[in-house]
Symmetry: C2
Subunit: 445 residues, 2 copies
């Protein structure tokens, strides 16, 4: 095998940033490799819909190879990066070293339990498809176990869900859990009244959705409360156990705690030996490269970047990752093109984030959206949300009918993916001789 | 809590037999409980489509509670039966004892490795959704690992699939794997030519589909061979290891071995202390009750039943389970109705199996079907198969659009559920310094 003659560009991560970088490099004179530890790209904004059984994993994910099948200069590799050696320009996949000429790091973020990692198994978060099916399993098993619990106290605890964190994920998750309990489940159970399910949304800040305008934060709170979600602001979670959550002095018995509070950059950033911010993100130059390493770029949730236009931080949202990936891919494509033609590379521009707006669903017919100076809420915002996500998924999956059918099913309250896969053992004891505990009102039947 | 006044009918198993028994009991004066160790019913005839990434688990499964939500006298319980005490009329769920007045056992079947249980982890079978996602994971990882294998031998082994067993499951699985390799995958890979994938179907008997008429067996073999599947008849598998399969004296290097050869009744039958057949199935009376225990019925794959009409054994297929479940449910419903009205129960009829025919797909546009004396093959059989399964799924899921879209996608060769969930680590070593091993033809690019 002769040595490759084209510069080797390696992209780490098949999320929004990595995929868009690969696509923008499609015509570059380079040998591009995209490595990810999973074989699939996940459409993260809809992960909570998998967790709440409205969509199947395959509806929001696609094999990275398949997404990039037409990008002929790009190879897709399944592997987990464990360390980067910037000085030697080497990547370590487990103990295998691999060289690069240019590197685009887009490994994303993971949960942060603010130093309380022992909470992780009790209060799982929502970043991957595995997380989403685990949440789905827990949510569905909660109702199953409540159906058999002997005492009123343990039944109440089984039917109490606490969502920690009042950003978009927390808001969407809390709303969806309340809807499952109130709309989808009641007819399926005989002993419990699932509409009495208690859903708490525990937000540390003084309003929900802190990145949104205050009026929309307020509207989200009101909508959630109308649906029956208990919203607690300025709620500092001080302890989490299998029995429940402690908020300041108040202990809330809850069998189901989900974490939507903090994110921290992928641990790969710590192996770089360069300045990081408090969340472990790499502090990048205006062109999104690592200062002193013009051959290494960082995009998406792994980067602490500042937008050249506004001087504001680039937010850790899908649009931020997409735009950064496009920016870096295009920049590098131009640069490599110039070098291949024997010219000097053009000066690098600075990355500017364009805020297309943001939107979060709260429940059916309820959402908040902000586009420039326009604020939407309620049904108009929700229809807008549906439209944008259908269009996004259709362009991504090319399955118009499935998407329409999803939106239709979603509108009519069906949640078809209510499967408990994996361990479905209940940690409860069936009352002896009586699996069929009659409801109080049914004893005389 | 007062004692229940209605007779307690317990159904074990939420497969075709159990669900149909519960539905047939909907108007019976009884307190019905259906227990299953999973929360979902699986449409088993399409499991192989989940294993081969054409459908998602949720497309072919539904929560048992939800399927039975309108059967108001039936409670659904999540629990695993470990033992039956026929004399005391007690069921043991782990160590919890529960009494019954009538029992319908429909716990189904599991794989049989003919005493070679050490083959189970190497050559998984296909009975549950977990099995199906595991097969999908292995099939997809096989292509991934072949992409990086250093030597031609190990690449060949990674791309060799051996399916053991030439019944409907084996035929459908072998055909679908060959189609994935030949139609779905080629564009996604850079280094391997997935069309060279070798798929072997190893059948112990002297023809495929032994329960079908010989001309259809022959047609299935021809169709599979046209597609490129190597069919071996009279092939006795004598050993299976992670290196490959031994068939008589011949060793076939294969990283992927799947088991579709034998079934054996659920181990629950062994706890009954009644006569079983060689596969562990309960030998039942003409009314499907256990001789000497008129209050206990066995249906579906757990029963060794004889059809009163033909005197032939009732086959272990979906129709056999559905008809037996309906039969037992209706019989018991009439009997309990008579008793409730103070009358004597009518004499019990004998169960007769009505053969509606059978069909198996081989690939797109290829299937075999037998309905009474009519034999179909090729495109007509395949369209028939599609129609029957769409109708079945639509009645089961009530999602016309999704099903049409599925059939459409299936026709145009899309396999959207190509997700590796769970462990996606490859058991291979990346060649040092070169994750991007150029194809021989690309080295000069």
């Amino acid at each position: 095998m002769s040595a490759p003659t084209l510069p080797r560009v390696t992209i780490i991560g098949g999320g929004f940033a990595g995929l868009h970088a690969a696509r923008a490099l499609a015509r570059a004179p380079a040998q591009v490799t995209l490595a990810d530890r999973r074989n699939h790209h996940v459409f993260q904004p809809l992960l909570y819909q998998v967790a709440t059984a409205a969509l199947s994993p395959a509806d929001i994910a696609s094999p990275i190879r398949h997404v990039l099948r037409k990008v002929r200069n790009c190879r897709v590799v399944l592997g987990e990066l464990t360390r980067v050696d910037l000085a030697r320009r080497q990547l370590y996949f487990e103990d295998v070293a691999v060289e690069y000429d240019y590197l685009i790091l887009a490994a994303g973020a993971t949960h942060s339990y603010f130093g309380r990692d022992e909470w992780a198994p009790i209060a799982p978060g929502l970043k991957t498809l595995e997380d989403a099916t685990e949440l789905r399993r827990r949510i569905l098993l909660a109702f199953e176990s409540a159906e058999y619990e002997g005492s009123e106290d343990s039944r109440r605890r089984a039917l109490t869900f606490a969502v920690v964190g009042g950003g978009p994920t927390g808001v969407e998750l809390a709303g969806a859990i309340k809807e499952i309990a109130a709309q989808t489940m009641p007819a399926d159970f005989r002993f419990i009244d699932t509409t009495t399910t208690r859903v708490l949304l525990l937000q540390g800040a003084d309003r929900l959705l802190p990145s949104y305008p205050p009026d929309l934060s307020e509207r989200a709170r009101r909508d959630l409360e109308t649906m029956g979600v208990e919203v607690r602001l300025n709620a500092r979670v001080t302890d989490i156990s299998s029995e429940g959550v402690r908020v300041g002095e108040d202990f809330i018995p809850a069998s189901n705690v989900f974490w939507a509070a903090g994110v921290r950059a992928s641990p790969i950033s710590a192996t770089l030996g360069v300045p990081l911010d408090r969340s472990g993100r790499v502090i990048v130059a205006p062109d999104l490269s690592i200062p002193g390493h013009p051959e290494v770029f960082v995009c998406g949730d792994l980067a602490a970047a500042t937008s050249a236009g506004s001087g504001l931080p680039v937010p850790g949202v899908a649009q931020g990752a997409i735009q950064a990936g496009n920016f870096v891919g295009s920049l590098l494509s131009r640069e490599l093109g110039a070098i291949a033609r024997g010219k000097t590379a053009p000066p690098r521009p600075a990355f500017s984030y364009f805020d297309k707006g943001s939107m979060a669903t709260i429940g059916r017919g309820r959402a908040v959206a902000q586009i420039g100076r326009l604020h939407f809420a309620g049904m108009p915002a929700w229809l807008l949300w549906g439209l944008v996500h259908i269009m996004f998924l259709v362009s991504f999956r090319n399955r118009v009918m499935v998407m329409l059918s999803w939106f239709w099913n979603y509108m009519i309250f069906s949640r078809d993916a209510r499967l408990i896969i994996g361990n479905s053992r209940l940690n409860i004891t069936l009352p002896r001789d009586d699996p069929v505990r009659p409801r109080p009102t049914e004893t005389a039947a």
